[in-house]
């Protein structure tokens, strides 16, 4: 969790300094952005994985073992498969939210004449125009929240709780898809 405790700027500067000299000289390349973001966000993935795994019923593993599956097969076919959907949804939401923020922070730096809302608000505070600054901040917060919520609903999808609701609304095409898959593969995989 250290990467969350340290401010992002500090981590970014640390990466730049650490990888500015051989043998790993990646400062100034796209790779350092990827590496930095991967390691910075890794705790989220690890924690999400642990949370997803801990929710899986232990008896599923036992059933798989009793049916003759070895440890790795059991891990690959059950916990991993069951957690996959949750991971995918979480990852999509995380990508959207983080991507928006990251791009939002980077783009203004690319064009000097672009007015950056954050800078504008800070300047208003420095000038003592607190009312204007608060108004802009509130607007920015609401826009951010609305965008994130809207996108998370769009990307993650609605909750489908309940067997009957799920069966009535979604079963026909899912069943048809599964049936097609089974028909296409008459023998077991």
């Amino acid at each position: 969790m250290l990467s969350f405790a340290i401010p992002g700027t500090v981590i970014g500067v640390a990466y730049i300094l650490a990888f500015n000299v051989p043998p790993i000289e990646i400062t100034g390349t796209a790779l350092i952005l990827i590496v930095c973001n991967v390691f910075r966000n890794m705790p989220v993935g690890v924690r999400a994985g642990m949370a997803a795994m801990s929710q899986i019923d232990k008896s599923l593993d036992e059933a798989s073992t009793v049916l003759g599956a070895r440890g790795f097969t059991t891990l690959r076919t059950h916990p991993a498969a069951a957690a996959e959907a949750r991971h995918r949804r979480g990852a999509r939401l995380q990508l959207r939210a983080r991507g928006d923020h990251a791009v939002g922070g980077d783009l203004p730096r690319l064009r000097a004449n672009t007015r950056w809302a954050t800078t504008y608000i800070i300047n208003r505070v420095v000038n003592g125009d607190y009312g204007v600054a608060i108004a802009y901040s509130s607007g920015a917060d609401r826009a951010d929240a609305g965008r994130d919520l809207g996108r998370s609903n769009g990307s993650v999808g609605e909750r489908r709780l309940g067997r009957r609701a799920a069966g009535v609304r979604h079963a026909p095409h899912r069943r048809a898809r599964r049936q097609r898959r089974l028909t296409a593969r008459p023998g077991p995989a």
């Binding site: 019923d57 008896s59 036992e62 073992t65 009793v66 003759g68 076919t77 069943r175």
Partner: protein, 193 residues
């Protein structure tokens, strides 16, 4: 039960720390017999089944199946199938995928797999429900899938851990009658506990 289950000569004991779950149990079950373990809650019925299935290691004692010592053998290496109290159906797999899972992971030849799963589904009256997910089945149907999944492997020892306990009274009665329309097909005397 195709093979005899023996617990000789040493009686089996299972301890969890200071708690003794199974205290010196010793019995022999003949091949081809159906045995029911009866006892109050917490007396160790499930622990005995789990030790037979290889999901728990006895603290002391020996377990033999078909005359062979399987005490230290992993669950996947024993010719034993178990129907769990909660059924433990794989939620992301369809009925057919659940039933054929054991055949696939055990690496049996393809013709055996195909015929085996069809027979198992027909045996428990689930033909036509192949593509459904477990969440789209009733409690009785889920139980039948669990039974089919265990039957399809044709194990030497078939263990049932209170498979009827999750069904309501009406379904249990229908199950006991062997009514395939509303409950599971297997006879109740196949239950081990």
């Amino acid at each position: 039960m195709k093979a005899a289950v023996d617990r000789v000569p040493a009686s089996v004991t299972k301890r969890y720390g200071d708690v003794v779950a199974v205290n010196g149990v010793s019995f022999t079950i003949g091949a081809g017999t159906l045995v029911t373990l009866l006892g109050p809650s917490g007396c160790g019925k499930t622990t005995i089944l789990r030790m037979l299935a290889g999901l728990e290691l006895p603290s002391s004692g020996t377990i033999r199946i078909g005359g062979e010592d399987v005490t230290a053998r992993a669950a996947a290496e024993r010719d034993v199938s178990m129907v769990f109290q909660s059924y433990a159906l794989f939620p992301h797999m369809s009925v057919l995928e659940n039933v054929r899972y054991g055949l696939v992971v055990s690496g049996r030849p393809r013709p055996t797999r195909t015929s085996g799963r069809a027979v198992a589904l027909a045996t428990v009256g689930l033909t036509g429900l192949d593509a459904r997910l477990p969440s789209e089945l009733s409690g009785g149907q889920q139980q039948r899938v669990a039974v089919a999944r265990a039957l399809v492997l044709e194990p030497s020892v078939l263990l049932f851990d209170e498979p009827l306990s999750n069904l309501d009274a009406r379904l249990r009665r229908a199950d006991a009658r062997g009514d395939p329309r509303s409950a599971a097909a297997p006879q109740p005397d196949r239950s081990s506990t």
